[in-house]
Amino acid sequence: MKTWLQILALALLTVMPLSALASDCVECHRDATPGAVIQWRASAHAETVGCAECHGDDHDRTLRGEAPVDAKVCGRCHEEAYNEHVASKHGMGLHSGWGCTRNLKTRDPHECRFCHEEGSTQPKTTVQCARFLTQSAEMRSLGCNRCHQIETSCASCHTNHLTDLSSVRRPEVCATCHMGPDHPQWEMWQTSRHGILYATLGESSGPTCQTCHMANGTHDVSVGITMTPAMQPFSDAVRARNRAEMIALCRQCHSPSFAERELAAGDAILAQSQALIDEAESIIRELADRGLLAPSLLERPEHPLRGRELVIDGQMLYEDISHIERLFFKMKKYDLAKTVKGAFHQNPAYTHWYGNAELKMTLADIRAEASRLRQGRASNVAPVKLDRLAEVDEALRVLKGKHDRGALNDDDYRAEKQKLLLMVPAAGE
């Protein structure tokens, strides 16, 4: 009995200061931010976690937006979930800079600069996402960060002051970001056999996003995934391990042989679809080498990360590009994703009609557009007259691109450069 009294006294001592702090805040905030107060009072945090525990006690800083409650704050108590999140696809931005996660494939996680600016103890803060950098501040906020903030914000899924897990265990919570033309996982799951079973018979019969991607409550959403965010396959060893993890999940309902066959078919569709992308990419590179893209690389604004380089990988922009590049963007960003993700989410319409058919029809458009460009009939707009230095500049970049890709040997590269440099005008010319 005495022991229980001691524990009770200790607990009261622990809780009382928190409650006191919280009540200080609540006095004003029940009027200033009533929704937040109501949600907090109804949450599990109301018992033990006061406002200052997460927001800090510097009200001015909070008002200035300088005290965000980011994932690290949550991680102080929810350490396991935080560590899982950080190691997963959702948390990769914590390592690679706030924003786009597509740069990861070019970085070695063992390098200091994977996390830090060179020579700095501070984490990377530079966003290296061309599409983000090209947008207005408003578009960055509402169009980019609302989803990509998940890298540093648990509230992306959990909501700021709610702690009721029944909300985040439902698949709808994923739909805000995992929908739309570039990765319609929500739509393709919802209309798949899995989604129909969930809608008609409930969670016990139809697996949700969480069933397969956050099994057993893990925050590591990368479990079982065999592709990088840029849809490049992981190394063989990682792929084999991840595939085994996914098949183990499938086995809860399916036979292993069925699961293996289905996923292998998905792999095959990925390879077939990637071959179509590769063909389209080679067509566009060849047109760029020949200076047939309009606007040319010189006439369009510089790419925010790579300057005058032709960028048609994960950092490709969709503005200030030629029509044929716009077709390629759609093909790679939308059609490929629908085909491949449709296959892995067991949605035949997305795999075939929204994905595969669009992929192949867009490739047909690209071939036709390339043919027109080669015949010089692509544009009715008079080309911008460039001075001689600008012409040589563009030609040198094309040559270097060819050389770097191995399409031009060293001797030919040198000889071609000499010819170009002869065009550099002397003073007064």
Binding site: C112, T121, G307, V392, L421, V424, P425, A426, A427
Partner: protein, 344 residues
Amino acid sequence: MNSLRILTVFFVLVLAGCLAVKAPRSLNDQPLVRLATLDIDGVFASDHSGQRIALGKNGLLVVSADGQEFFRVNEDSPLALSWSPDNNSLAAAFSLGDEITRVVVYTADGTPRFEKKLPVTLDRLIWSRRGDLLVVGHALKIFTFGGNLRQVLYRFDEATLSETLLSDTTIKPTSVKRFKEHLPLLLANSFSSSGDEIVYFRLHDPPEFPAFLQMVHRNWQIGGERLLLRFPVDQFGLEWVADDTAVTVLGRGGAALTVPVWQGAAEKLSEAQPGASIPRTARLQVLQDGSYLLAEGRNLYRGAGLPPAGSRPDDAASWQLRRWRFEGLITPQEYVNRLQVLGR
């Protein structure tokens, strides 16, 4: 000022003995004429024709070549002065304290054309040969965990300002204490004669390792940087050699090291040169006609009879060739070959 600097380090080294004495001796057998009195450590800059000299003396003055006529441009004494290549503009930098530098561009008659406050401590102010005003500065913000040190290059194209971040790094608390007062001397920089290329030191202070200086090469026409060498943290002078192919690093003890900018590191290290003592108080500007200005203490003198500095053509093609060289579109040798063909 920088655009006329072709004698650079060689002259400074050879003539160091002359300058080391209190009353300066002429750099040759021609006499020195005293022109004006400067502020303590006051700055000065002659225009490129040698007709007007801007100097700091209880404010900013512009003095005629013979020192007989002058007019006051500003009541504040400048930190740095530089005339534009066409002699039509005078740029001056003033300290507003607390890492704020005010840059003002005046017309030749002293009328302010535009001004800008920059959030840095000034390290350099020059005009490029084609007429860009270039300002380099640094800023140190101190936090409990250490300091954030930034070096920035500002470029004014007319009144339009663009920024290039030269470094942005965190330094340890102990390094903040050690280096804070010496940063202007540690973070030396030097522009090539055209002004489009800069070599500078930046402080690198990784956790668990001693701090060191990195010598960095940039062409501000484009992004990117080239790391040249690593040095212990100390005060070094930096000067490009006359043909812009190398940089001379001058140590406090007088040792000099020539660092070819476009060669491999092994070659750089093998080229240490015998040192010479540099008087820290003397300042020199050599003009196109071979006359020169020499400041020692608070006195400014004019001398004559040095080899004329001359002027090299610097057209759009040269700038473009250097840009291509920095980007790796042409090799350093192709750059040299092309310049020779073009007769530069």
